[in-house]
Amino acid sequence: MHDLFAIVMLAGIYSLLSASLFLDLDAVDVAFTEASVGAGISTLLMLASLKLVGRHEKKKRYKPSLALGIVIVTGALLIYGTFDMPHFGSADAPVHNHVAPRYLNESMDEIGVPNIVTSVLASYRGFDTLGEVVVVFTAGIGVMSLLLVRRETKDIEKKKVPADMQQQIILRVVAKMMLPLILLFALYVQFHGDYGPGGGFQAGVIFAAGVILYTMLFGLTNARRIFKREILTLLTATGVLIYAGVGVACMLMGGNFLDYDVLRHDPVHGQHLGILLVELGVGITVASVMITLFFKFTWRTVKHKYTS
């Protein structure tokens, strides 16, 4: 298959399928993330960049038999390696006997949050998550500097709504109706993450998806009026600052870094407050980085359209 568009669409299906598989393997939070990130944002970014690089792959004449050989040998070695692994679904595998029982048994007393994934993510392993948020932040900065554009010219600004979307009136009306619900749902996912699947990462991505929907249907200029570049940059940094700030606040109040017990008189209440703030920081950073990424790619395509 040489049409990259079709390939990206099949990759989107693959993401949906793998998310269903995660759901079947009891990883609801992971399924949530994979559905919104892998199937949603990843496909969107791929499509936007296909618009820039063209959608046809050049045909190749030779057969890469050497590559096939390497792959088969590596695969055979890996399968040989699996013979020593614990069986699928067995409860006495080494993974289940290290720290996991502690998380499962004492999370409810120590943290007081029903969703154990959230409590591990934001509290037990909060330091890891801070690192991940910084990685997302850095990637946002990287894309910003790679796809830097010069000042916007005047004639582009006149073009408010994309031409092909002006025709789709029904689509635009329905999308306008749905937009508040999507943003509301994102907030629900954000603050319900303690009790069900969800949390800052997923909520940020869903919020960004709502904004991206608006951008696609009503044009970049309209979306830029609400989400100005300066505000987005500020928000990207603010999220990381909130996360790290909670950690520093814990230190100032006499605990360790990101040790939420000291935030309130009751340790469980402190944990609740800490997780809420930290997830908020994660959500803000992820949402603004995703929106920025999409804006950067779309902006390039608009520029291409007018210069070429």
Partner: protein
């Protein structure tokens, strides 16, 4: 010992090798990125399937259930997915810049261009600067 109980690892290995093959055998950079993400998903499957316990349920506390799957791999993979999209976006941005600089996203064409006009590139890199210095001296 029942070997068939290991089928989850075989699926992971198969997916991983498909991703690996796409990365090394295809010249198109977008296809390479997709292969990379398939490889990535294979690793996610490995972690998540290790965390599954037969008869367990999702690790969200509820009175009706006693046995939960292991939450630790879920946490690791959740963050890994978000970091994965961040790196994919960075890769796509690089591909876009490569397309602008070389006019192609096929790896062999890029290499061919690099080989043929290496000298020109050097001239281009040094030429204007020398001119500028020369002008300054005058």
């Amino acid at each position: 010992m029942n070997i068939l109980g290991l089928y989850n690892y075989w699926i992971v290995v198969a997916l991983m090798m498909i991703g690996f093959y796409i990365v090394i055998a295809h010249e198109n950079l977008i296809k390479k990125l997709i292969g990379l993400s398939i490889f990535q998903t294979a690793v996610f499957f490995l972690y998540i399937s290790v965390g599954k316990i037969t008869g367990g349920t999702a690790p969200i506390y509820d009175e009706r259930w006693q046995l939960y799957s292991n939450p630790l791999p879920h946490v690791l993979i959740l963050t890994a997915i978000v970091v994965g999209i961040a790196t994919t976006a960075l890769g796509l941005a690089l591909v876009v810049r490569i397309q602008e600089a070389y006019g192609s996203i096929e790896e062999d064409e890029i290499h061919a261009q690099d080989g043929s006009d290496e000298l020109e590139c050097q001239l281009e890199a040094y030429g204007p600067r020398q001119k500028y210095l020369g002008a300054k001296r005058k």
